[in-house]
């Protein structure tokens, strides 16, 4: 058993820690839901950190893979001292006197992420150096281009990545996860609210969804989005609040309420994700 340790000095300032029960479930071989939840909570921020450090797309996914493997390796030793409010972990099969990982889980996780990124950015890790044998015959050129895009950001400024920046990246990736979960977490009456919200508050996302041939959201949501996108085209690319009011025959106040309802829902999903709860369970 790992030895208990005192929380690090800054532990209390780490206001939210990964839910202890989630860590406990990760150690169970049969509990795949916990892994899915863990992935949903952290994949965005891990990829985002890797990209911000100037790693090409392929390498960012390599970092995510290595971190997932590291968590898998150590997950069998997760334990949580509720009295000391401290996360304990010991490397699998390690002797009692080996160093104990301590403190908040996120703190440990982000240390692993940064170490992995550093290894790829400055260390001995070579790039994948992918070469394909049948580029011309590929029917998925978009996918191949993505894997071929090995150009690092022009100004990665890795030294400028601070804890504060990592935290803000983390919150942004949580919000993106929350937006993706919106259709699953809202009632059947919400497709219109979601479509109005996206059209007015996230026009870049709205356009991207509407222009994609495949259905990225459930059919009810896609119908509303496509109808509004057609409306936008009919109004020379301008989808304003008055246009939406006329289309749905609703008041300005009503539009504001619809948008506010989705924003509140997003804030609630965000809070759940941040606290390690599954917002779909409600």
């Amino acid at each position: 058993m790992p030895m208990g340790v005192s929380p690090p000095d800054d532990f209390e300032s780490d206001e939210i820690r990964t839910r202890p029960t989630l860590l406990g479930k990760l150690s169970s071989d049969s509990n795949e839901d916990a892994w899915v939840r863990f992935y949903e909570m952290y994949q965005g921020v891990i990829l985002s950190m890797a990209r911000r450090w100037g790693l090409p797309e392929t390498t960012a996914w390599d970092v995510l893979q290595e971190v997932m493997l590291a968590v898998n390796r150590i997950s069998h030793s997760f334990s949580y001292d509720s009295e000391k409010r401290v996360f304990l972990a010991n490397t699998a099969g390690a002797a009692v006197d080996e160093p104990v990982k301590r403190g908040g889980f996120r703190q440990w996780l982000f240390t692993v992420v940064k170490r992995t990124i550093w290894k790829h950015r400055y260390g001995t890790r070579r790039e994948r150096e992918l070469s394909f044998s049948d580029l011309s015959g590929s029917h998925d050129e978009k996918g191949l281009r993505e894997y071929y895009d090995r150009t690092p950001s022009p100004d990665p400024s890795p030294d400028a990545i601070t804890e504060e920046k990592a935290e803000s990246d983390y919150r942004l990736s949580l919000l993106e996860s929350a937006i993706r979960l919106l259709p699953e977490c809202t009632k059947r009456s919400h497709p219109r609210k979601t479509a109005i919200f996206l059209a007015l508050k996230q026009p870049h996302v709205f356009d991207s969804i509407a222009q994609t041939h495949s259905d990225l959201l459930p059919s009810g949501h896609m119908s509303e989005i496509r109808a509004l996108y057609q409306l936008k085209a009919n109004h020379h690319g301008e989808l304003t609040k008055p246009v939406i009011m006329t289309h749905y025959s609703i008041s300005s106040n009503h539009v504001d309420q619809e948008v506010k309802a989705i924003k509140l829902k997003l804030a609630a999903i965000f809070t759940d994700l941040r606290s390690g709860r599954d917002p779909r369970e409600k």
Binding site: E15, I16, D29, E32, W35, V36, Y39, Q43, W61, D62, L64, Q65, E66, M68, L69, N72, R73, A92, T124, R126, E127, R128, E129, L130, S131, F132, S133, D134, L135, S138, D140, G143, L144, Y147, R171, L172, L175, E176, I179, R180, K201, Q202, H204, V205, D207, S208, I209, T212, L216, L217, K263, L264, K265, L266, A267, A268, F270, T271, R274, S275
Partner: protein, 161 residues
């Protein structure tokens, strides 16, 4: 019904939410297919690692899926190099009835502390993870899945990999 409000710890305030909304990726919904495929592979990898008696100390290749089965079916250490195929001259020879596997399908070779996968001009090609194109050669990473001739293999880098 629980009243919702902004700024509940650790949730965002309305101002923060508004400022973050303009920074999100336009293709945030479009990424889900790739992410789902990656997650599926991670879960599969976890199942396979759990099914192995011990994590291999040295780099090895685990045969995890044939045409009909989906479980760890055998493993081989890679050493300095390992050739996989149907032919008798392959280091790891598979049944001759695996017609989609070439006689010498692919090879993994040690290069310093890393390992390189090379397709040996196989008829049906070698695929890696979710990458949508036949691989000619590439570096392998711990946890990579190699698909060749209807078979799937998991590459394990061993301790320190």
């Amino acid at each position: 019904m629980k009243t919702q409000s902004f700024g509940q710890t650790p949730g965002p305030s309305e101002n923060e939410l508004d400022s973050m909304l303009v920074k999100t990726s336009p293709t945030l919904f479009d990424r889900s297919t790739k992410e789902a495929a990656f997650l599926k592979r991670m879960l599969e990898m976890r199942r396979i690692l759990s099914a192995l008696p011990t994590k291999p100390a040295k780099a090895c290749l685990v045969f995890v899926k044939g045409e009909t089965t989906a479980a760890p079916l055998g493993q081989r250490p890679i050493g300095k190099g390992l050739t996989v195929g149907r032919g008798a001259d392959s280091d790891w020879q598979f049944e001759v009835n695996r017609q989609r596997l070439s006689n010498r399908h692919f090879r993994i070779e040690r290069s310093g502390s890393e390992y390189v996968l090379t397709d040996l001009n196989s008829t049906n090609g070698t695929l890696l993870n979710e990458i949508p194109g036949r691989i000619k050669s590439c570096l392998l990473r711990d946890g990579d899945f190699i698909h060749a001739g209807g078979c799937t293999f998991l590459f394990i880098a061993g301790e320190g990999g």
